[in-house]
């Protein structure tokens, strides 16, 4: 980091940048969530299925997030791993109304957690139990049971119920993510010292 960057950081003029991976099955609402988090003048009107990935940016109160919004379609999921290394946090989105594919989501999650680039890092994971507005959606507690989230011991994680179309529950999640990211980063820096 250059002297100027450091200075601006200290003064709080420039926010610290964090890389976040946004993962989850297709049609779970990843792009919609990210779109909603962007400032209202930069939001896209219509959301189409992502092919490959796209890079989006949004800011929270003290951090600047660079999100790798990955495509959830089956044939592109194996491309996620190319971006694991740089990810400093993960947003995992689940369609709570799609009970049938909850197992698929669990499988993808397990693969993710066991990946060598992820396994030994204390990387914060934020789960969005999305599409709460739908009638047959299950609760966030039920989702965490179905995905066996309680087995994740070595990483900070948090699940929030959300409705990306209205934007409900998103801010809560981002606030948690910001707190944990700052913690884990300072932890890292502590270790470096």
């Amino acid at each position: 980091m250059g002297l100027l960057d450091k200075l601006s950081c200290l003064l709080g003029l420039k926010k610290k940048e964090v890389h976040v991976l946004c993962l989850g099955l297709d049609n779970s609402g990843k792009t919609t969530i990210i779109n909603k988090l962007k400032p209202s003048n930069a939001q896209a009107q219509d959301i189409v299925p992502t092919i490959g990935f796209s890079i989006e940016k949004f800011k929270s109160s003290s951090l600047s997030f660079t999100v790798f919004d990955m495509s959830g379609q089956g044939r592109y999921r194996n491309l996620w791993e190319h971006y694991y290394k740089e990810g400093q946090a993960i947003i995992f989105v689940i369609d709570s109304s799609d009970r049938l594919r909850m197992v698929v989501a669990k499988e993808e999650l397990d693969t993710l957690l066991n990946h060598p680039d992820i396994k030994h890092r204390r990387i914060p994971i934020l789960f969005f139990a999305n599409k709460m507005d739908l009638r047959d959606a299950v609760t966030s507690v039920k989702v965490s049971q179905l995905l066996c989230l309680e087995n994740i011991k070595d990483k900070p994680w948090h699940i929030c119920a959300s409705d990306a179309i209205k934007g409900e529950g998103l801010q809560e999640g981002v606030d948690w993510l910001q707190e944990k990211t700052i913690q884990s980063n300072s932890g890292c820096e502590d270790m470096k010292r």
Binding site: T50, G52, F53, S71, L79, K85
Partner: protein
């Protein structure tokens, strides 16, 4: 910016190229920087440049390493640096075929192409189309349609050009974008209009009606873009060519109207289109030529060059049309641009009068050494055309050619000169002696083996017939002493030809050949020994058969026959008559426009064609025991009109005592399948139909073949010419055009075909005899017959010669097919081989009074061929 520096450095020489010593592995190692945050755009762009440089230098990237670098590069999309982003687009395009999963950037690119930054949008469209295959195209179709009609010209152009590329693999999808392209075609931007027109044309180019509609629409409304005009002119002239239609077509009117366009580019394009139209007359050419004439005095060198180059082309075919421009061309002769000057002079040589030749030749020789070989060839061609036009000028032209021959030059250039000289010698007997002696001088110091052997061959052929043949011997023998083996072998052959034709020189030739027997090289030694032994026999027939006229069989055929013979040894000696003859190529009449054509080799193709037939026929069990295939008719004869239900073409194969007719049938009805097809034949003469080999089944549009075998008449063997009436018999089964399923039930049907002619020419194979007189003596007069006929319907000697050659299907020897002007007598010499392998020679003396009287003398080693010839002529 980086690119620009790069280019400049390359130009200024190797030393300063910063990318010169790049190591692939080091660069890929550096590419890991892409993963770091925050991104350093300058550094990353520099590394991308290095990668692109490596790829463009032909460095091979493995799939794994390429994919790794590619995915690292995708992370650069988080930076908003414009230079870096554009480098990313370039990298994506370059690596789209090397790396895997390049599809990963699709969403990033669609985001850029629909985004607000106009600088990104065009390149993003191009990169996106590069990584998209036909399966993914549907996903981006909506964006493409939007981009085509985008207000920003660069985006619209990019989308149109990319669509053109996509057309190759996903025609059906791109076809749906026609409406958008149509809208773009009415754009105000000249590039967009041009690109839109290009796309529209390529979508429709297989549909002639749609193309002509498109042309008429745009010609009516007019176009803004000169590029689009040029494109439309090209399309229209192509269309005109295909229609090969009348000059009053609206298309032609349109092209002509473009001659008055305000853009020079369009005017030139129109003029060049008119000039290149086949069968264009002087009336149509005149406006185009006058436009080009104006260009000749343009201050822009490019325009002058274009004009004079086009005029040069016109002058080949219509020298008179260009005469009007002579004055302007004269001015260009001294143009500072050498290319323009050369073209101007060669054009003038074609159009100018005989008197101006001397002056022009002097002019051109003043800077001959300054122009490139390519233009020198143009000059040689012009000279060659001049020689045909003004035979009297041959001395000055020859001298010029020889000065050129002595100067340095590449193979193509030298070959063009030698070709030209040889054609002058052939055309003009007066120039023979000087020509030959100049060529002798040339081979004294000739670095091109092909040319040296060619000249040696020519010397062997022409030298003995000159007044003083002995003067060539020194040159030829020098080759034996000085040159390498190929030239030495050629020289030995040439020596032998002198010995065979000249009694006085024979003893000295024998001495020279004896020395050659000691040569180091096998081929040279073999030739010398062979010729020595033949010459020592002192028999004219032997000389004729083995020295003057070489083998007439096809070499690959001989090779196969010999191999067959060694595999199945038999008591009988090998029979040379069982080897198929070499089919001599039809020597095209040299036209004025192409005085020096590239050396074509139809011989080889023809030989293989006959071999293909031989193999096909050998596969049919009915045809075993017919002996070797003697001749196949060169062009299949159509027995139906081309637009009818069934298309039948017939090829005639002649064997020693039989003929096989091969019928290639195509069924053009998609609701029928034919089965069990035969062609029934009724001969008028005593031919006897032996058997029919049916084609089993003939589905829609798939060619099939059936055969008919006939025996040649035995009782009256001279009656070889015959007409067969033909009728096709078959079983029709209806079938569903869409699924191709056929009904089980069928019915018999017949189809009457046109009559098939068998002529004398089908029984005779053309053979080239280099020395007709020797061959004539060799055959002897045992079976000689002579008769005189009157050709009452023929008025000129040329016509008579043409007809006789065509009718007998024999090869004219010693250029006797060319009738000299202003003579009323001519002797035509023809050589051929009659089926069964007997040489047949015909000498026909023609006398022109009011009608042509012809005295035919035929010689052969058998009686039958002579009888056949005389019977058929009468």
């Amino acid at each position: 910016m980086l690119k620009k520096f790069d280019k400049k450095d390359e130009e200024s020489g190797g030393g300063s190229n910063p990318f010169q010593h790049l190591e692939k592995s080091a660069v890929l190692q550096e590419a890991r920087v892409f993963n770091e945050t925050p991104i350093n755009p300058r550094k990353c762009a520099h590394i991308l440049t290095k990668i692109l440089y490596l790829i463009n230098q032909g460095e091979h990237l493995g799939t794994t390493e390429a994919t790794e670098a590619f995915f690292a590069m995708t992370k650069l999309f988080q930076s908003n640096d414009p230079t870096l982003r554009r480098m990313c687009y370039l990298t994506i395009k370059e690596m789209s075929c090397i790396a895997e999963d390049v599809i990963i950037v699709t969403s990033s690119l669609t985001k850029d192409m629909t985004g607000k930054e106009d600088n990104y949008r065009g390149p993003a469209v191009r990169a996106l189309c590069q990584i998209t295959d036909s399966t993914m195209l549907q996903a981006i179709e909506r964006y493409m349609k939007q981009a085509i009609v985008d207000k920003v010209p660069s985006v619209s152009s990019s989308a149109l050009v990319s669509s053109l590329h996509l057309l190759k693999c996903s025609f059906d999808v791109v076809k749906r974008w026609v409406n958008e392209a149509q809208e773009a075609a009415s754009s105000d931007n000249i590039m967009v209009q041009y690109h839109a027109l290009g796309l529209l044309y390529h979508v429709r180019k297989n549909d002639r009606l749609a193309v002509s509609k498109m042309i008429s629409k745009f010609t009516r409304h007019g176009l803004k873009s000169p590029f689009a005009y040029c494109m439309i002119i090209r399309v229209a002239s192509k269309q005109l060519e295909e229609e090969d239609g009348s000059r009053d077509s609206p298309l032609f009117d349109f092209i002509e109207s473009c001659l008055r366009n305000k853009h020079e580019m369009v005017v030139y394009e129109a003029a060049s289109a008119i000039v290149n139209l086949p069968g264009c007359g002087a009336k149509e050419l005149a406006p185009a030529v006058s436009v080009l004439q104006l260009f000749c005095s343009s201050p822009k060198a490019a325009l002058r060059y274009a004009a004079v180059r086009t005029l040069n082309k016109v002058a080949m075919k219509h020298p008179s049309a260009v005469t009007a421009c002579n004055l302007d061309l004269e001015n260009l002769v001294t143009d500072s641009n050498r290319s323009i000057a050369t073209l101007a002079i060669t054009t003038l040589l074609k159009t100018g009068s005989e008197s101006s030749i001397d002056r022009l030749m002097k002019q051109i020789s003043s800077f001959m050494s300054e122009i490139s070989d390519e233009f020198k060839v143009v000059v040689v061609q012009a000279i060659s055309a001049l020689c045909q036009k003004y035979p009297r000028k041959h001395t000055i032209l020859m001298n010029f050619l020889f000065t050129m021959l002595r100067e340095e030059g590449g193979f193509e250039y030298k070959r063009a000169i030698v070709d030209c000289i040889i054609s002058i010698i052939e055309e003009n007997s007066e120039s023979k002696e000087t020509g030959l002696s100049h060529l002798c001088e040339f081979i004294e110091d000739c670095e091109f083996t092909v040319l040296a052997t060619r000249i040696l061959h020519l010397l062997g052929q022409e030298g003995p017939k000159t007044n003083n043949p002995s003067k060539y011997i020194r040159f030829i023998y020098n080759r034996v002493v000085l040159e390498h083996e190929e030239v030495r072998a050629g020289a030995v052959s040439a020596l032998a030809k002198f010995g065979a034709q000249n009694e006085e020189m024979l003893p000295s030739i024998l001495v020279l050949l004896k020395r050659c027997v000691m040569d180091d090289d096998n081929e040279v030694r073999d030739r010398a020994t062979f010729y020595l032994n033949v010459l020592e026999q002192k028999q004219k027939a032997l000389n004729a058969g083995y020295i003057l006229n070489g083998l007439t069989v096809s070499i690959p055929g001989l090779e196969r026959a010999l191999q067959q013979y060694t595999l199945e040894p038999s008591e009988k000696p090998f029979d040379l008559k069982s080897v198929p003859l070499a089919t001599t190529p039809v020597v095209e009449q040299r036209t004025e426009s192409t005085p020096i054509t590239a050396v074509k080799q139809p011989e080889k193709v023809a030989a293989t064609r006959q071999e293909i037939f031989q193999e096909q026929l050998a596969a049919v069990p009915e045809f075993h025991g017919l002996g070797p295939l003697f001749k196949s008719s060169p062009e299949p004869v159509a027995l139906t009109e081309s637009e009818t239900e069934y298309v039948i073409r017939c090829t005639k194969h002649t064997f020693t005592d039989h003929m096989v007719f091969q019928f290639d049938c195509t069924n053009t009805l998609n609701d029928q399948t034919l089965e069990n097809i035969t062609v029934q034949m009724e001969p008028t003469e005593s031919y006897e139909v032996l058997c029919y080999v049916p084609a089993r089944s003939l589905p829609y549009n798939q060619p099939g073949t059936c055969y008919t075998l006939v025996a040649l008449p035995k009782e009256d063997p001279t009656a070889v010419a015959c007409t067969f009436s033909c009728m096709m018999k078959f079983t029709v089964k209806d079938c569903d055009p869409t699924t191709g399923e056929t009904d089980d039930e069928g019915y018999e049907d017949e189809y009457v075909l046109e009559d098939l002619e068998v002529t004398v020419a089908d029984h005779i194979q053309k053979v080239m005899k280099l020395n007709f007189e020797a061959a004539w003596d060799e055959v002897g007069d045992e079976f000689e017959k002579e008769e005189t006929f009157t050709l009452s319907t023929i008025k000129t000697l040329e016509e008579a010669v043409g007809n006789i050659v065509k009718f007998l299907g024999m090869h004219p020897c010693e250029r006797s097919d060319k009738v000299p002007d202003n003579k009323n007598t001519h002797t035509l010499l023809l050589a051929g081989v009659f089926r069964g392998g007997h040489d047949i020679l015909v000498r026909s003396r023609l006398l022109l009074l009011d009608t042509v009287t012809m005295q035919v003398t035929a010689r052969s080693s058998e009686e039958l061929p002579v009888d056949v010839i005389l019977a058929s002529v009468g």
